[in-house]
Structure formats: structure tokens, C-alpha cells
């Protein structure tokens, strides 16, 4: 008996066979009803590998209708589950990760030499034999973009209510509250001091949470980088837009607090090895706005310094911040009209955009670089918890 089992394992060629009438059950157990937690501790993107092994068998027996049907049902199943869980970050990450992995598998095993450079000889044996699935790869790529957009929307929805209070209103630097501009009531975007008031720690905790989920679900690191670049852009845009509209936060002390908050975020990025994501660059206008609040604003040399420093802010934004700037106390002077005119004259030649506010809904285009897997199909084990006993290993 033992010999039989060993022989069976040895003969497994990394394909999975099923009867056509079991396709709906396969999609239900592996896609629409599957909870990501069920697969904790298993190979990341296991559903994608299982689906590829099923496609490969249909290809092996030259059954084009079965390939068509399975891919269509898979894509529709993924769309259905995403629609049902459209505010679930973990579920959306799970399917982004799996959709991209299936896309990578269809490239890695396409037989196209350009995608086979890192394959082992064994992996080359697992390539498709009969069908070219280029058009389905395009559909999976389009689906990945849709899932990515859903993921960003969920993350932004969680972060957005925290941004203004955490970045502009919360005072974590000790002693800074004594040097706030006087004469303004404490204003909050979210009811003063209420339960909707957040500190920067809350944003960082939430980022940690997103990062852990993306790592656990085996999301391609290049995609994780793009997610954080997008989120940091949104934090920058919402913060800067508020700064440009609120006199009470245009002060030296807010500039100081803001610069401290940004440095905390930069430190977090470095700690997670995300500093090459371009996230810090998206914060540049905010970094400059914080510095502008702290710079001296009196002499021609000060004007020169402001103009050479604030290259990521438009003339309109610089002038607006200077106009809104509120002295801390009676010893600090307001920014004079002549100083602002001097700045405007110096920046005249810049071809700046006319709009004052940043488009906080702007999305950077996403890329899904090819990321082949070192796993071989015949090494993949299907756990019993998936209830896929009807799949035959071939």
C-alpha cells in the first residue's frame, strides 16, 4: 500500500482533473465562498495555483470549451465576491494577490520564452501545450486593475477621516500648544475633541495593519509599494488642501508639528522598507508647506529663500499660505503685502497650474510587473479544508 502511495506522489504531474458538472462547486468552494483565513499557514495564492492546475489539465486534454468555461466562471466568481465584500480590505487584497498570481502563472507557463527565463526544467514541463491564453491574460490584467482600485478606495475610506486631526490638529510635541495663535476657537473637521479626533499614531497603526494584511496575503511587493505611494499622496493632498483653506492652522507651530508628523511617516516608510515607493516624493509639497510656515518672511533674502525652496508648491499656493499666515503673538508681525508682491514678482516666470487645491482623488496608474514563482506545481498540496476532494491529481 505504501508503495502505491509513493508511486502516486511521484507520478503527479501538477495537473488537476474534474468533471465538467463539478465546475460550479469548484468555483463556489475555491472562490465565492472561500474565506482568506481558511488558508492561513498555507502557500500564499493557493487558489491561483489550483486554478492554473485545472486549466492546465483542460489544456492537456485539448478541451477548449472547458478552458473557456473555467476562466469565465473564475473571473465572474472573483467579481461576485469582490462586489459582496466591497469594504473588506483583507478579502480585496486576497483576490488582488490571487488574480495577479493567476496572471503570472498564465505568463510563466505560456510557452513564451520571454516569460520562461527563470523557469526550472521541471517548470518548463508544466507549460500549456495546446492553447494560447493571451486574450484571457488581458482580461485578468483588467480585472487586477479593478481590484486594485477597490483596494485603494477601501484604504482611503478608512484613512480619510483621520487625516486632518492627525496631521494638522493633534499636538504631540510637548510645549507647542503654548505657542498657538490666539483668538481662534479650536476647530476640528470632526467635532472638537470628540471621538473622531485622531493622533498620528492612529494613522501609523492603520498603515501597519494594511501592510501586515498585504504581506500575509502574498501580494507582490511592487504592488504594495504602489498602494503606499497612492495612500501617501492622498494624505498629502487632504492635509495640504485643509492648510490652504484654514487660517487657524497656518502658523509657525502647526508648521513645526506638521514637519514632525511627516518625519514620523518617513521613518515608518524606512522601517517597512517602503522608502523606494515614491511615497516620500508625493509628500514634497506638504514638506515645503511646513517649511514655508517656519521660514522668516520679512527681508528680500527671505523672499529669495522661499522662492528657491518651494519648487513643489505653485505660486498661488505659496501666496495663499502667506496670506493666511497667522502670527503667534503680538511680537510676531503679519506677512506684509509688499513681501507677498515681491514673491509674486519673483515667481512670475514660473508656468504654474492655476488650481489652488490638489486633486485628492487622483490615482497614479498601476503596474503589475511579471513576477514568476519558484514553486513547482507538483509540490503543491491541497488542504482538506478546501473541500475539493472531487479534484483528481494527474
Amino acid at each position: 500500500r505504501q508503495v502505491t502511495v509513493q508511486r502516486k506522489e511521484k507520478d503527479f504531474q501538477g495537473m488537476l482533473e474534474y468533471h465538467k458538472e463539478d465546475e460550479a462547486l469548484l468555483i463556489r468552494n475555491l472562490v465565492t465562498e472561500l474565506k482568506p483565513q481558511t488558508l492561513a499557514g498555507t502557500v500564499p495564492c493557493l487558489p491561483a495555483y489550483i486554478l492554473y492546475m485545472c486549466i492546465r489539465h483542460a489544456d492537456y486534454v485539448n478541451d477548449d470549451l472547458k478552458v473557456h468555461s473555467l476562466l469565465t466562471s473564475t473571473i465572474n466568481g472573483i467579481k461576485k465576491v469582490l462586489k459582496k465584500h466591497n469594504d473588506d480590505f483583507e478579502m480585496t487584497t486576497f483576490w488582488l494577490s490571487n488574480t495577479c498570481r493567476l496572471l503570472h502563472c498564465l505568463k510563466q507557463y505560456s510557452g513564451d520564452e520571454g516569460f520562461m527565463t527563470r523557469n526550472t526544467a521541471k517548470q518548463n514541463e508544466h507549460c500549456l501545450k495546446n492553447f494560447d491564453l493571451t486574450e484571457y491574460r488581458q482580461v485578468l490584467s483588467d480585472l487586477s486593475i479593478q481590484i486594485y482600485q477597490q483596494l485603494i478606495k477601501i484604504a482611503e475610506g478608512v484613512l480619510q477621516p483621520m487625516i486632518v486631526s492627525a496631521m494638522l490638529e493633534n499636538e504631540s510635541i510637548q510645549g507647542l500648544c503654548g505657542v498657538k495663535p490666539t483668538g481662534y476657537r479650536k476647530r476640528s473637521s470632526s467635532m472638537a475633541d470628540g471621538e473622531n479626533s485622531y493622533c498620528l499614531e492612529a494613522i501609523i497603526r492603520q498603515m501597519n495593519c494594511f501592510h501586515t494584511v498585504m504581506c500575509d496575503q502574498g501580494l507582490d511587493p511592487e504592488i504594495t509599494l504602489q498602494v503606499f505611494k497612492q495612500l501617501f499622496y492622498m494624505i498629502t493632498a487632504v492635509t495640504l488642501n485643509n492648510l490652504l483653506l484654514r487660517k487657524d492652522v497656518c502658523s509657525w507651530s502647526t508648521g513645526m508639528q506638521l514637519r514632525y508628523n511627516i518625519s514620523q511617516l518617513e521613518e515608518w516608510l524606512r522601517g517597512k522598507n517602503l522608502h523606494q515607493s515614491g511615497a516620500v516624493q508625493t509628500m514634497e509639497p506638504l514638506i515645503q508647506a511646513a517649511q514655508l510656515l517656519q521660514l522668516k518672511k520679512k527681508t528680500p533674502e527671505d523672499a529669495e529663500a522661499i522662492c528657491s525652496l518651494c519648487t513643489s508648491l505653485s505660486t498661488q499656493q505659496i501666496v495663499k499660505i502667506l496670506n493666511l499666515y497667522t502670527p503667534l503673538n503680538e511680537f510676531e508681525e503679519r506677512v506684509t503685502v509688499s513681501f507677498i508682491r515681491k514673491i509674486q514678482a519673483q515667481l512670475q516666470e514660473r508656468n504654474d497650474p492655476q488650481q489652488l487645491l490638489l486633486d485628492y482623488k487622483h490615482m497614479f496608474p498601476v503596474l503589475f510587473p511579471f513576477n514568476p514563482s519558484s514553486l513547482t506545481m507538483d509540490s503543491i498540496h491541497i488542504p482538506a479544508c478546501l473541500n475539493l476532494e472531487f479534484l483528481n491529481e494527474v
Binding site: 477548449d64 478552458v67 473557456h68 476562466l71 469565465t72 473571473i75 465572474n76 467579481k79 510557452g111 500549456l128 501545450k129 495546446n130 492553447f131 494560447d132 491564453l133 493571451t134 486574450e135 484571457y136 488581458q138 482580461v139 483588467d142 480585472l143 479593478q146
Partner: protein, 31 residues
């Protein structure tokens, strides 16, 4: 000389939007 592999047959796929339309009309048809 190893035999040249047979060229693979391109499987035509509907676009994502077309798939969406197909499933919507199927759902509408079913009671």
C-alpha cells in the same frame, strides 16, 4: 533535432466589460 512544438491555438476571450454584460443578461433572464 528536436521536433518543433506545435503552435498553440489562440483562445478568443470576451473583454471584461463584455463578460459583465453577458452575466447581467443571464441574471435578467433567469427567474
Amino acid at each position: 533535432v528536436a521536433p518543433r512544438p506545435r503552435p498553440r491555438v489562440l483562445l478568443k476571450a470576451p473583454t471584461l466589460a463584455e463578460m459583465e454584460e453577458m452575466t447581467t443578461s443571464e441574471e435578467e433572464e433567469s427567474p
